[in-house]
């Protein structure tokens, strides 16, 4: 099934949960200097996931089963001008 993650389409096997996407995004960005700096300073990477326009809490990642056409956005909810 095809899932959009930050507007890019990716192929995922049926039955995949949102946790799989979270894991992949974290793996992809683990060496990102921003991620490393945030983890070093604050202990967490500040990534927040939005599933079909709904903000998702970390304790929900495993329970959300993805469907074909789902849209996932991840962001770091910072403000700074």
């Amino acid at each position: 099934m095809r899932i959009k993650v930050n507007s890019r389409e990716h192929e995922f096997p049926p039955g995949s949960s949102l946790a799989r996407v979270v894991e992949l995004v974290r793996e992809t960005h683990k060496n990102d200097p921003v991620t490393r700096a945030l983890i070093e300073r604050t202990g967490f990477d500040h990534l927040t996931f939005i599933y079909n326009s709904r903000i998702v809490r970390p304790d929900e990642y495993e329970s959300i089963e993805l469907k074909d056409g789902d849209e996932i956005r991840w962001m770091r909810p910072y403000a700074g001008g």
Binding site: R8, P33, A37, I50, R76, P77, A79, G80
Partner: protein, 624 residues
């Protein structure tokens, strides 16, 4: 008309008159409100040759169709005028509750012209306006003035004031409200001071009708809940957000986006240790200090209980923190916070102030300024005491150095000479903000081509594509790769989109920072439509943005902009840093990118809107 009153308050300080005038519906449909209205009044009433401190300059305070809608972020309002730093059109936005209260008086904008014969303040209450004596307030700082006006008029008034820097025409003086929000950049506080206008107090009880009240309630509930849920999804983040925007240093430092030592370095170990978010929260005892209706709560109240930098008040925002701390190598957190609050009280923009002080420190380092010229002040890099003292001297403007630095780094370097222009990081007379062009080249393009308020990081905040992962999918900015930040791929197009986007936000009067919380253009569009009933589509909204940008461009041409000004970027733009995340990066090819931007905009090779563009935007009458 719904969503706006269709009325403005005209204040003539020379004649001492205040009258309410109608404003046609088509003006709002073209320019929305806020920044658009400010530009409209300059276009209509300030011919070529009008200068910033001339009585004929129009200083406009304006809300928009989103002002006061009880949606998170709907507390914004905008002021605009011809700026004394860039001598071009300029606008700036602020929050707290002044805009909401102004709208509640029954007008969309207050347009101030003339110059009072003696210091005055203005009181506006439910359709009635009075000009009152302010001679007893002249010489007080902006906070003292606000307190005094509230004592005189009532604590439920919302007030804007200027401090000594505004009175004494520091070219980057700002206007403050509620001791927490500032009309910064571009020196509008000096325009206010030049009119001998110390403050404006507003209070009203009127509710502007909206087109779809039930729809608006549903939108407000859904959006407010969604934005709040984003923060609540990460409980750890809720603790961290007390830091407010200053926490952005954590995000920006690893990207090479910080200004360090007048933009000449990439690393600042002392700053990395002391000037970061977790220290800010702890040592400044930061607590949220939200604007009305806002669930993001990025402003904070800070307190330093003891020592020479003891204060209780506004915590520095990212830009203030970066420019006054990292950019001057002062890593004393309390001193930086104190100096920023001192600047606030004098009413000075901390971005320009930090840049000017850094310029002066570099002059001192290079022997161009000596202790003779500084009257004994040791302006070495990182000297916290000197940071605080020079802030005071510029705000007071009573000695030669304070006066010179109050002119901004462009004029100061022209007067000082000795090669000091080489390290004045400014364009068109305004200092560059705390987004390093080496981290994303589009920032350089934005600084060169911005028309709303000179080189301004929030009048085209395209840096947020990379530093904060902001996307505008409705207007075609979606897939972006990290490598593109150091190329000109799509930079002209993206720059144009963000210029128009910022104009739409600052004219409808919503808080742009909600883009960091997933607030979308569709949210904005739906809200504007529910408020006004205009039935706009996304492309219509883009046209509004284009019209406002085009009007600003026409104004700049009228007030003396020439093509060469866009290419007179600071020498430092092309000086790489040897280490760090942006090591070796310089925006080579910037000149071609500027020309490409002109083409994208529909401007000619001279950077002027073409007749075809004016026709497409149905703005032929504005072309003259």
């Amino acid at each position: 008309m719904n969503g706006v009153w269709g009325k403005i308050l005209r204040v003539d300080l020379t004649g001492g008159t205040c009258t309410v005038e109608p404003l046609p519906d088509e003006v709002y449909r073209y320019f929305l409100g806020g920044a658009g209205l400010a530009a409209y009044f300059l276009w209509r009433e300030c011919p070529a040759g009008t200068t910033a401190f001339a009585p004929t300059n129009r200083l406009t305070f304006a809300g928009g169709p989103m002002t006061g809608l009880k949606q998170t972020g709907a507390a914004k309002w905008t002021a605009g005028a011809i700026s004394p730093s860039i001598n071009l059109n300029a606008d700036s936005a602020a929050t707290a509750s002044f805009g909401i209260a102004m709208k509640a008086t029954g007008v969309d904008a207050i347009v101030v012209s003339g110059r009072a014969p003696r210091p005055v303040y203005l009181v506006v209450e439910d359709g009635r306006a009075r000009i009152k004596d302010a001679q007893g307030l002249w010489g007080t700082n902006a906070y003292e003035a606000e307190d005094a006006i509230k004592d005189a008029e009532g604590a439920d008034f919302e007030v804007v004031t200027v401090g000594q820097a505004g009175e004494r025409l520091v070219r980057y003086a700002n206007i403050q409200t509620h001791k927490k929000s500032f009309v910064g950049r571009c020196g509008l506080g000096a325009v206010m001071g030049s009119k001998l206008l110390k403050g404006i107090a507003v209070h009203g009880s009127r509710t502007c009708p909206v087109d779809d009240a039930a729809g608006l309630r549903r939108l407000n509930q859904e959006i407010n809940r969604r934005v709040a849920a984003l923060d609540a999804a990460q409980p750890e983040f809720l603790r961290f957000k007390r830091v407010g925007t200053a926490g952005a240093t954590e995000l920006f430092a690893p990207q090479g986006n910080l200004p360090i030592k007048n933009y000449s370095l990439a690393r600042f170990p002392g700053g990395e240790r002391n000037l970061h978010g977790t220290e800010y929260a702890r040592r400044l005892q930061a607590k949220p200090w939200p604007c009305k209706y806002c669930v993001m709560q990025c402003h904070n109240l800070c307190q330093v209980e003891t020592g020479p930098y003891a204060y209780k008040g506004k915590g520095p925002e990212y830009e203030s923190f970066a420019m006054m701390g990292f950019n001057t190598l002062v890593d004393d957190l309390e001193a930086v916070a104190y100096a920023c609050e001192l600047a606030n009280m004098y009413s000075m923009d901390c971005i320009s102030l930090g840049a000017v002080i850094a310029w002066a420190m570099e002059c001192y380092e290079k022997g161009v300024l000596t202790q003779r010229e500084t009257y004994g002040l040791d302006l070495r890099w990182g000297n916290a005491e000197a940071l605080v003292e020079i802030t005071r001297r510029i705000g007071e403007r009573t000695d030669g150095l304070g006066y010179l630095l109050g002119e901004g780094s462009k004029i100061a370097s022209e007067r000082l000479g000795r090669g000091s222009a080489d390290w004045a990081v400014q364009m068109k007379g305004q200092e560059i903000a705390a987004h390093n062009w080496r981290a994303q080249y589009i920032s350089a393009l934005n600084y060169c081509t911005g028309v709303a308020a000179g080189p301004n990081h929030e009048r085209g905040n395209s840096q947020h594509i990379w530093v904060a992962d902001v996307r505008l999918p409705e207007w075609g900015i979606d897939e972006v790769t990290n490598d593109e930040r150091w190329s000109w791929t799509k930079a002209p197009e993206r720059n144009a989109v963000f210029h128009d986007y910022c104009n739409v936000i600052n004219s409808s009067c919503h808080c742009k920072f909600h883009e960091f919380r997933g607030y979308t253009l569709t949210d904005l569009l739906d809200t504007v439509n529910a408020s006004t009933g205009w039935g706009l589509g996304l492309e219509d909204l883009r046209r509004c943005g284009e019209r406002i940008t085009t009007l600003q461009k026409l104004l700049n041409i009228r007030y003396g902009w020439v093509r060469e000004h866009d290419f007179q970027y600071p020498k430092r733009f092309m000086e790489p840093v040897p280490e760090g995340p942006a090591a070796g990066r310089i925006p080579a090819g910037l000149d071609d990118a500027i020309l490409a931007y002109y083409r994208v905009r529909g401007w000619d090779e001279g950077g002027r809107p073409t007749a075809e563009l004016m026709k497409r935007l149905a703005m032929e009458e504005y072309a003259a």
